[in-house]
Symmetry: C2
Subunit: 163 residues, 2 copies
């Protein structure tokens, strides 16, 4: 068995953290009924369905940001990203969000599987080549880490809900 | 200027994510009065002071886990780790927790600054040498990532509180 390089070990640790958090989210969100998803995490706060749509929109945005192709569900931006919860009257159903969530995370997973360490260290799409030359930490790997943390952040909120 | 290696870029990304989250926590927690810290994040849920003590205990445990020395505040385990919130009657004061928090995170920061990539890829203290030979991902770097996510998770909860 070839020895795994240091850079591969570091990368696989970060990919594993992403996958673990996706699996935690799946386990939690798939277990909830549409009625439970319609509840606020705390009085006056976001509903679980909003958090789920928000995470799906943010993960969908990762596709172009990481150079993995165009958005799949830009229609999620208005209800779940640019507008606050309870502003847009007709949200997509839980079933529709689940379908989008799985689709988006599946496409990310397939893209991640093809990225080498060098690919991860390329600039992400929101930074100019000029800025990236001075700030090499603004790479795709930083997006992976920050979106993993973003997912954890909202998972922490989702578990607060009353059972 | 020497070119930064891939492994150093990956590591610095993860260290930066840790630092960013510590700074977010500092900003939030230092801004709260003892009265605000005594409030529950949602009805019947943990109080902010409990989350803070819990995070401090978990970070303190990182010291021996990463080989950075003995615990500094094992006395935090009972009120904030092994027992649930509102079980232990007399919690340390907000001022005392803040002091411990800063001390523990400072010691982690100093330790992190001295770790090379190879140091981060050493086994952590809770895995045997035998298991680590088969499971090289059970390294110190995985602890860094998982504790960063843990911090994000509870930060997400802390911001829920009513202002």
């Amino acid at each position: 068995m070839a020895k795994t390089s240091n850079e591969e070990l570091l990368l696989s640790g970060a990919l594993s953290a992403w996958t673990t958090n996706i699996e935690r989210a799946d386990k939690l969100l798939f277990s909830l009924t549409p009625e439970q998803l319609g509840k606020e995490i705390a009085p006056g706060k976001n509903r679980l369905i909003y958090l789920w749509g928000h995470l799906t929109a943010v993960h969908d945005l990762m596709l172009p940001l990481l150079g993995l192709g165009p958005r799949l569900h830009a229609e999620l931006d208005e209800p779940f990203l640019t507008k606050a919860d309870k502003v847009v009257a007709n949200l997509p159903s839980a079933e529709a969000i689940k379908k989008d969530w799985n689709e988006v995370n599946g496409k990310l997973r397939d893209g991640f599987a093809k990225f080498s360490v060098a690919d991860w260290l390329q600039k992400h799409a929101s930074v100019s080549a000029e800025d990236f030359a001075k700030e090499p930490h603004r790479n795709r790997f930083a997006i992976l880490l920050s979106r993993t943390n973003h997912l954890s952040y909202h998972l922490g909120q989702a578990v607060i809900r009353d059972k």
